[in-house]
């Protein structure tokens, strides 16, 4: 989808394509007439599907369609309201994680579920600790577990120590650890809920290799994704959910992508170009970093500028320093040296509150831990950063205005919720992301907008809206800096892309020079590129 995106055009009646031939393979997981309601809303209705041994089933749908809910039921995290689930033909009676795992079902959830204070090897073996002499109440066999972890990390090509605490890992590395943890348990049925949303391209490739291996070993896999090209890369079968109902059930090689997309969104999506405005290269420089250095050597001297109206992309592999750079600018990460200049004024806030006051806005990558207050309602989360705009001088919140504005910016992003008073934790992952983004649409626009993986977990239809909103903001003079692990996204959206490696931007590509290959080559380093192309 380089340079092109899908846009909604016309509404079509619901159509169900049912191709229920699962090849010659035996069925390892299936459900019949499954229903799930939360309170008074039906999230899943009459869902019947099956996953075959050694095949991968792609579960597709818009944000809030019910994918995570369905996987949650399979994994024993949720109990269905009606219908049945069968593992290897046997009906499941108790919906608990223990029971599901006993039957060989393992899940990688959409949000991480690692213990942050434990190390990589401890997490990977959590609940499956190896003990000396095989006596399960005995002394832990640390050496063995460390070694096994090192092997797993190695096979994935991840260069971190088994003794690193999860706290200290980047989101993408933590996601890999989570996947390896589950892989190590040798599941018969593996459920992956948006496993690639936090991964970089290289890691995604490694994951797919792993999945192919598992498939040929007979594991059946059910996965979800919002990246359409991934369906073809690992999927064998595809099921589409819309509003909790199945709208398509077929085989990947017999179903064109358009058909999948229209089954997802309930309307035809035509491809159109994003009308990106020309940046004015004489416009004032709004953002400038001068030789910025962070603690722990994550960023080693970054000098970048961004003008009013410019959209600057940051590309690079995991650990290249993009997140550390953004966090340092915003005042979260450890600052070691160098300056940030906003509108010609050296800014030394080094604290989010001051950065926001100076006109810098940041959308963090990890919405669960650094973004949202999950126990609070949708409005509260939407207005949190801009609450001052809705307060009387005495600090009383004008709730009417607050609601109205929140609702508008949430609607602009097509956010789905039942009511504004609903807890954000109850929204689907993609809709939580939209709440996070809507914060910066609600009131005064910032001078500099830092976006870290803004479309993580967002469905195809809504991505377009987000790109358009970003472009509109830039057109109005905001300096936008976007970090993304999806190159096509950056190449579509940005006027220039700075490619990071080892904590420094190695090269800045202007829009005319964009080439996926060149960018990747710079991102992984010239020599490494040669190795990768041979592999």
């Amino acid at each position: 989808m380089v340079g092109q995106v899908m846009a909604p055009a016309l509404v079509q009646p619901e159509h169900v394509v049912d191709v229920t031939e699962s090849g010659s393979q035996p069925i390892s997981l299936n459900c019949a007439k499954l229903g799930k309601r939360f309170g008074h809303t039906d999230v899943l209705t009459n869902v019947t599907l099956s996953a075959a041994k050694g095949r991968a089933l792609a579960l597709m749908g818009e944000n809030g369609a019910g994918k995570s809910t369905l996987l949650g039921i399979f994994a024993g995290l949720l109990t269905p309201s009606s219908g049945g689930v069968f593992v290897h033909g046997e009906a499941v009676e108790n919906f608990t994680p223990t029971e599901a795992q006993r039957r060989g079902v393992q899940i990688v959830t959409q949000e991480l579920s690692l213990v942050p204070a434990l190390t990589v090897w401890e997490n990977i073996h959590l609940g499956r600790e190896l003990c000396l002499g095989g006596w399960e109440h005995g002394v832990l066999d640390r050496r063995h577990m460390r070694k096994r972890t090192a092997e797993l990390l190695d096979s994935f090509g991840l260069n971190i120590s088994p003794d690193t605490r999860i706290d200290d890992l980047s989101l993408s590395h933590a996601q890999v650890v989570e996947i390896l943890k589950v892989y190590n348990r040798k599941p018969a049925i593996l459920l992956l809920d948006e496993p690639t949303s936090a991964l970089t391209e290289g890691e995604t490739r490694s994951l797919f290799k792993l999945i192919h291996q598992m498939k040929s070993a007979g594991t059946s896999i059910v996965f979800t994704t919002h990246k359409m090209n991934e369906i073809g890369q690992i999927g064998d079968d595809v099921v589409v959910l819309r509003d909790g109902r199945i709208t398509l059930n077929g085989q990947v090689d017999k179903t064109p992508t358009d058909e999948i997309v229209s089954a997802m969104v309930g309307r035809e999506l035509s491809t159109i170009d994003l009308q990106l405005h020309q940046p004015n290269y004489d416009a004032r420089i709004v953002f400038e970093s001068r030789n910025l250095i962070t603690t722990k050597d994550k960023v080693e001297g970054v000098s970048l500028t961004c003008r009013a109206g410019e959209i600057l992309g940051l590309a690079g592999i995991a650990g290249a320093g993009r997140t550390a750079f953004m966090e340092c600018v915003f005042g979260i990460g450890g600052h070691f040296g160098g300056d940030v200049v906003i509108n010609g004024r050296t800014y030394s806030g080094r604290r989010p509150g001051r950065s926001i006051a100076a006109g810098v806005a940041y959308v963090p990558q990890d919405r669960k831990s650094a973004g949202l207050v999950l126990a609070q309602d949708v409005v509260t989360n939407t207005s949190l950063t801009q609450l001052n705009a809705f307060c009387t001088p005495l600090g009383i919140v004008r709730r009417g205005v607050e609601r109205e504005r929140s609702e508008k910016s949430l609607t602009a992003l097509r956010t789905r919720y039942h009511d504004l008073g609903q807890e954000v934790g109850e929204l689907s992952g993609g809709n939580q992301q939209k709440v996070l983004l809507s914060r910066w649409l609600i009131s005064d626009q910032p001078e500099v907008l830092l976006l870290n993986e803004p479309t993580r977990g967002i469905d195809v239809g809504a991505k377009v809206d987000i790109y358009r909103i970003i472009a509109t903001l830039a057109e109005r003079g905001v300096a936008v800096i976007v970090s993304s692990s999806e190159l096509p996204e950056l190449m579509l959206l940005c006027h220039a892309v700075a490619v990071f490696r080892n904590g420094v931007p190695q090269r800045i590509f202007s829009r005319g020079e964009f080439s996926e290959e060149d960018i990747i080559r710079v991102a992984i380093g010239e020599g490494a590129a040669a190795d990768a192309s041979e592999a």
């Binding site: 809303t41 979260i332 650094a370 126990a375 307060c391 005495l394």
Partner: protein
């Protein structure tokens, strides 16, 4: 200035249908949970008032409220701290300290000015301990449990030192009127707790500060990244908790006509139990001050009932503790609050 004119080019978010029909009339789970505790409460009150008609007389109800006024004040402050996912164990000691401070100041004086001064000094002593707690928690990042465990002991110690371990009796009538007096026929302490409740609840619910308290308790890191003044918010709740405990200490010393260091020892139990019974989550970020009020009244009524029924004080301890555990269990079971 705003970006509200940005709209998606086609359609808008499709919302799932709202609750319709008869489902609307039935209480939803959350409301039901609140009711369950009331129902359980009724099971206690009704038989008791039949057996002992005096139990629901106006004078007894007022005496229950009077009895709980000290508890209520410290429980309100404690609720704020718990909402930020902290705990304040020092409130009991502050009650003793502020009582001693007030009693020492009023000793030998009879003018209204000195009364005012001693009341303020009592509150200020509490606020000072709260400030100390707040600075350690918010700026030194010391866990609140450790901090306030320390000040629990220190405040008690200071109270013993400045009173030389004596009981300081109070004979100033104006001061004694704080607890004994009436405003429009309502005992002054009751007026005070309802004023405190109204102000705190209103501010917590409708103000920016209140929002921030919930946000800091709900997700500290997210609140920080969102640019909230996290440290100031934390500091503020400990200061308020300390000041309210100080006020409670003044009222208590006026009630018992002496200032003693040990006046409030053990009060932290009720201060923590009341909000927890009322549904404020110890993990922070969830619950309402109404719950705390309910918790305080529940505990007060049960204490009063046991006294009326002549239950031995030894057994009262056992029963009070059991009720705390049972009440919270009911709440959790009905709410289907899960571990994860």
């Amino acid at each position: 200035m705003t970006n509200l004119d940005i709209q998606p080019n086609a359609g808008s978010a499709t919302l799932a249908p709202r609750r319709l029909g008869i489902g609307r009339l039935l209480p939803d789970r959350r409301r039901l949970a609140g009711m369950i505790l009331w129902i359980a409460f009724a099971f206690y009150v009704i038989p008791l008032s039949i057996a002992e008609p005096n139990f629901i007389s106006l004078s007894n109800i007022l005496s229950i409220l009077l009895l709980t006024s000290v508890y209520a004040l410290i429980a309100f402050g404690e609720s704020l701290v718990i909402l930020t996912a902290g705990i304040d164990l020092s409130v009991g000691s502050i009650v003793g300290l502020s009582g001693v401070v007030a009693a020492l100041l009023i000793d030998g004086h009879s003018s209204a000015g000195w009364v005012l001064l001693s009341v303020f000094a009592g509150i200020a002593a509490g606020a000072a301990v709260g400030l100390f707690n707040g600075v350690l928690v918010a700026y030194v990042n010391l866990p609140s449990f450790v901090t306030t465990l320390g000040t629990l002991s220190m405040a008690l110690g200071v109270a013993y030192v400045i009173s030389s371990g004596r009981q300081i009796s109070i004979d100033n009538n104006t001061f004694l009127n704080i607890s004994g007096g009436r405003i429009f026929e309502i005992p002054t302490p009751i007026v005070i707790i309802f004023c405190a409740f109204a102000v705190l609840w209103g501010y917590l619910t409708y103000s920016r500060w209140g929002r921030f308290v919930y946000a800091v308790g709900g997700n500290l890191r997210a609140a920080y990244v969102a640019g909230l003044p996290v440290r100031k918010i934390l500091l503020s709740v400990y200061v308020i908790s300390g000041a309210l405990a100080g006020l409670a200490g003044v009222i208590l010393s006026s009630e018992v006509t002496v200032g003693v260091a040990s006046n409030g020892s053990g009060y932290e139990l009720v201060a923590i139990a009341a909000p927890v019974i009322g549904g404020i989550s110890l993990a922070g970020g969830r619950g309402s001050l109404f719950g705390t009020l309910f918790g305080v009244v529940l505990l007060g009524t049960i204490d009063n009932g046991m006294t009326i029924l002549n239950v031995s004080p030894f057994y009262q301890h056992i029963i009070r503790g059991a009720i705390i555990v049972v009440a919270v269990s009911i709440d959790i079971l009905v709410n289907k609050r899960r571990l994860v």
